[in-house]
C-alpha cells in the first residue's frame, strides 16, 4: 500500500508536467488544427530563459518563472508569425512538416548557442523532504511546488478561456474561423494570443523540469514533448480538460509501468497506448465523435 501511494505521488508530479505541456498542444490544435511539433523546443527555450534569469539576473524562482513565460510567449508568437501564418491556407501537411522543421531548427540552434553539454539547473527553491507514513513515503517541496504551480496555471487558463472576452474569441475562432471573422473578431491576433498562452505554459513546464531533474540541455524538450502529445491525444486533442486529464493519466501510467513492471517497457506502453487510442477512440477519452465536415 505504501509503495502504491509512493508511486502515485511520483506519477502525479510527472503527470502535472505532462499536463502543462499537453495544454499547449491542445490549444494550438483546437484553434488551427496544427500539431505544433516545435512545442517541446519552446519548453527548452523557456527552461534556458529561467536558467539565465536565476543565474545571471539573480531573480528569485517566481520572477524567473514569469521571465521564462514572457520569453517563451514571444517565441511562440514569432514562430506562428514567421512559420505558420504564411502557410495557413496551404494543405495541413505543409504546416505539419514546417512544424517539424521549426523543431529541428530550434534544437540545433540550441546546440550551437548553449552547447551540447548538460547545464546544471540552480536549486532556486530549497529541497525539503517530508516523510509520511513512518518514512516509507516521501514528498519533497519540489513535488508539492510542481503540483501547486500546475493547478494554479490550470485555474488561470480555465478562467481566461471561459470568463474573459479573449477566451470567448478563442472559442469562437476554434468553432468556426470564418464566422468569427464575420462577427468582427481579429482572428490573427486571437491565434497569436493562443500561441503565447500555450508557449508560456510550456515555459512553466520547462522551468519545473529543470528544477525537478536538476539539469537542462538543448534536446530536453523532445521526449517530454512527444509524451505530452500522446497525453493530449489520450485526453482528446483540442479539448482543454482532456489535456489535463491525459497528462495526469499518462504520468501515472508511466510510473506504474516502471514501478511494477520494467522501465524498458515504459515507452512501449506509452506509444502503444497512442496507437490503441487512435484506432479505438480517435477523439480521445473526453472527446465527442465529430464527423469531418465535407
Amino acid at each position: 500500500m505504501e509503495t502504491f501511494i509512493a508511486q502515485l505521488l511520483n506519477g502525479l508530479s510527472l503527470g502535472s508536467i505532462y499536463a502543462l505541456i499537453a495544454l499547449g498542444y491542445t490549444m494550438v490544435y483546437g484553434i488551427i488544427q496544427l500539431i505544433n511539433f516545435a512545442h517541446g523546443e519552446v519548453l527548452m527555450i523557456g527552461a534556458f530563459a529561467g536558467f539565465y534569469a536565476i543565474t545571471k539576473l539573480k531573480l528569485n524562482f517566481f520572477l524567473a518563472l514569469i521571465f521564462a513565460m514572457v520569453v517563451s510567449a514571444l517565441l511562440g508568437i514569432i514562430i506562428e508569425l514567421a512559420a505558420y501564418r504564411p502557410l495557413r491556407n496551404s494543405p495541413r501537411l505543409a504546416a505539419l512538416i514546417t512544424a517539424i522543421g521549426v523543431s529541428l531548427f530550434l534544437q540545433n540552434g540550441g546546440l550551437v548557442v548553449f552547447g551540447a553539454d548538460y547545464v546544471s539547473f540552480p536549486q532556486a527553491v530549497n529541497k525539503v523532504t517530508y516523510k509520511l507514513l513512518g518514512g516509507s513515503v516521501t514528498v519533497t517541496s519540489h513535488q508539492i511546488l510542481i503540483l501547486i504551480v500546475t493547478i494554479v496555471m490550470m485555474l488561470v487558463l480555465q478562467y481566461i478561456v471561459l470568463k474573459t472576452k479573449t477566451g470567448k474569441a478563442m472559442r469562437a475562432v476554434s468553432f468556426d474561423k470564418d464566422a468569427a471573422l464575420l462577427m468582427g473578431i481579429n482572428v490573427d491576433s486571437v491565434i497569436s494570443i493562443t500561441f503565447a498562452i500555450g508557449s508560456a505554459l510550456a515555459a512553466v513546464a520547462g522551468v519545473l523540469l529543470g528544477m525537478y531533474y536538476q539539469t537542462i540541455y538543448p534536446l530536453m524538450g523532445t521526449m517530454p514533448g512527444l509524451k505530452a502529445f500522446v497525453a493530449a491525444v489520450l485526453g482528446g486533442i483540442g479539448i482543454i480538460p482532456g489535456a489535463m486529464a491525459g497528462g495526469f493519466l499518462l504520468g501515472i501510467i508511466e510510473t506504474f509501468v516502471s514501478g511494477y513492471w520494467s522501465t524498458t517497457y515504459r515507452d512501449v506502453v506509452v506509444f502503444g497506448l497512442l496507437i490503441v487510442i487512435l484506432i479505438v477512440k480517435p477523439a480521445g477519452l473526453l472527446g465527442k465523435d465529430t464527423r469531418e465536415k465535407v
Binding site: 509503495t3 548538460y118 546544471s120 531533474y213 536538476q214 522501465t263
Partner: protein, 390 residues
C-alpha cells in the same frame, strides 16, 4: 575537358612529390629518441587527449632531466588527430613513416586506437594507449589472438566489476544488491553482467535489477521498487550525469543505502548535480586516486599541478605511466630497435607506476590494483586498493 586533364596531371604530380618526400624522410638523429604522441587535442574528446598529452610531456621532461634513456634524450613528436578516427590513422602513418618514431603513444579512444593498430603492426612499431578500455584493442576479436604491438596502461572493464563485487560483499558486508544499469551502453551492461556473476559467486544475492535508457530523467518509480526489494546496496555502472540524478532522487525517496559505481562516475559534475550531501556513503572503482598518500603519486600530483594548474585526472595518470613504461622498456631493451622495445614491453614485470604495480598478462592488459574511491562531503577520498583475482 582540358581543365580536367590538367587536374589529373597535377594530382599525379602531387602524389609523386609526396611519395618522394616519404621515401627520403628525415634521417634519424643520433642524440634523441623520437616518440610519437598521437592524441585528440581538439574536437569532441579533446579533454581526454589533452590531459593525456600533458602528462606524457611532463613525464618525458622528468626523464630527460634525469639523464634520459640510454644516454639520449626522448623527443616527443606531438600531433593532433582532431578526435577523428580516420585522422588518427593519417597522424600515425606520418609519425611512423616520416618522423621514424620508435614507439607510438595514444590515441585516447577505442575507435581511434583500433584504426591505428594496422599501421603500427605493419611497421612493427609498439603502440601504448592509456585509456582505450575495449578488450578488442589488444585482442583481435576474430582470431582471439593478442595484437603483438599493442599495449595499454588502463585496466579493461571486467576487473572493475570484480573488485566492486568483492568490496561490496567482503568489505561492506552486504548480501542483497540491486543493480541499475544503462541499457543502451555496452560498458554499463558489461560491468553489470560481471558484477552479478561475482556477487553470486561470493554468496551474495541480486534482489533487483533494472535498466534505464539514455533519455531517462525520472528514476523515482524504479528506485521506489528497489527500496521495496530490501536491497542493502545499489550498484550503478553508468556515467556521472545519470548517476548524479539517480542518487539525488534516491536520497529524496529516503534510500540511504550505499551506492557503488565505476570509473564513469569520475567527473566534477557528479558533485555539481547531485550535491555533496547526497553523495555521502557512495563509492566507485577507479584507476588511481590523487589522494593516494604514496610518495610517487603525491610527487606526480604536485608536479602536474605546478605545471598545468589542475589536479590530474585518472587518464593523466595512466598516460604518465605509459610514458614511464616506454622509457623503462627502451632501457631494458638496451636499444631503440622497435621490435626489441616491443619484446621488452611484453615482458614487463612489476612495473611500479602511479596507477599501481603492474605486469602485462598474455593479452597485453595490465594486471594491477583497482582503487576504491569514497565520496566524503563532495571530495573524492581513497578508501582502499584491491587487486582483482584472475
Amino acid at each position: 575537358m582540358k581543365t580536367y586533364k590538367w587536374l589529373v596531371v597535377s594530382l599525379i604530380m602531387m602524389l609523386a612529390v609526396s611519395l618522394a618526400a616519404t621515401g627520403c624522410g628525415k634521417k634519424e638523429t643520433s642524440d634523441t629518441i623520437k616518440v610519437g604522441v598521437n592524441y585528440e587535442l581538439s574536437g569532441e574528446v579533446a579533454a581526454y587527449g589533452t590531459t593525456a598529452k600533458d602528462a606524457i610531456l611532463l613525464a618525458f621532461d622528468e626523464i630527460n632531466a634525469a639523464g634520459g634513456v640510454l644516454g639520449k634524450k626522448i623527443e616527443a613528436v606531438v600531433l593532433d588527430n582532431k578526435s577523428d578516427a580516420a585522422e588518427a590513422l593519417n597522424v600515425a602513418t606520418k609519425l611512423i613513416t616520416q618522423e621514424k618514431v620508435v614507439a607510438h603513444l595514444g590515441p585516447a579512444t577505442t575507435g581511434a586506437t583500433l584504426n591505428v593498430v594496422p599501421v603500427c603492426t605493419e611497421y612493427k612499431v609498439p603502440l601504448i594507449t592509456n585509456s582505450a578500455t575495449n578488450p578488442d584493442v589488444t585482442v583481435d576479436p576474430q582470431t582471439k589472438e593478442t595484437r603483438e604491438y599493442v599495449f595499454r596502461t588502463c585496466f579493461i572493464d571486467p576487473p572493475q566489476a570484480v573488485v566492486a563485487a568483492e568490496f561490496a560483499v567482503n568489505q561492506l558486508g552486504k548480501k542483497k544488491m540491486a543493480v541499475y544499469y544503462d541499457n543502451t551502453n555496452d560498458y554499463s551492461k558489461g560491468l553489470y553482467q560481471v558484477f552479478k556473476e561475482q556477487v553470486i559467486a561470493l554468496g551474495g544475492e541480486i534482489v533487483a535489477e533494472e535498466g534505464y535508457v539514455k533519455e531517462d530523467q525520472e528514476f523515482r518509480p524504479t528506485l521506489t521498487k528497489f527500496k521495496q526489494s530490501g536491497a542493502e546496496l545499489i550498484y550503478i555502472p553508468g556515467y556521472y550525469e545519470k548517476v548524479a540524478k539517480i542518487i539525488s532522487q534516491a536520497r529524496e525517496l529516503g534510500i540511504d543505502v550505499p551506492f557503488l559505481g565505476a570509473d564513469g562516475w569520475d567527473s566534477p559534475d557528479l558533485v555539481e548535480v547531485a550535491g555533496p550531501e547526497a553523495l555521502n556513503n557512495t563509492f566507485f572503482t577507479n584507476h588511481y586516486s590523487p589522494q593516494d598518500p604514496s610518495e610517487k603519486v603525491q610527487n606526480f600530483v604536485k608536479a602536474y599541478k605546478e605545471r598545468y594548474g589542475s589536479i590530474p585526472a585518472s587518464f593523466s595518470a595512466t598516460a604518465y605511466d605509459a610514458a614511464y613504461l616506454l622509457a623503462d622498456a627502451i632501457k631494458r631493451a638496451g636499444s631503440t630497435d622497435t621490435v626489441a622495445i616491443t619484446k621488452a614491453l611484453a615482458e614487463t614485470k612489476d612495473f611500479d607506476g602511479i596507477t599501481g604495480k603492474f605486469s602485462f598478462d598474455e593479452q597485453h592488459n595490465p594486471v594491477k590494483e583497482v582503487s576504491i574511491i569514497e565520496m566524503v562531503n563532495g571530495e573524492q577520498t581513497l578508501k582502499t586498493k584491491i587487486t582483482p583475482k584472475q
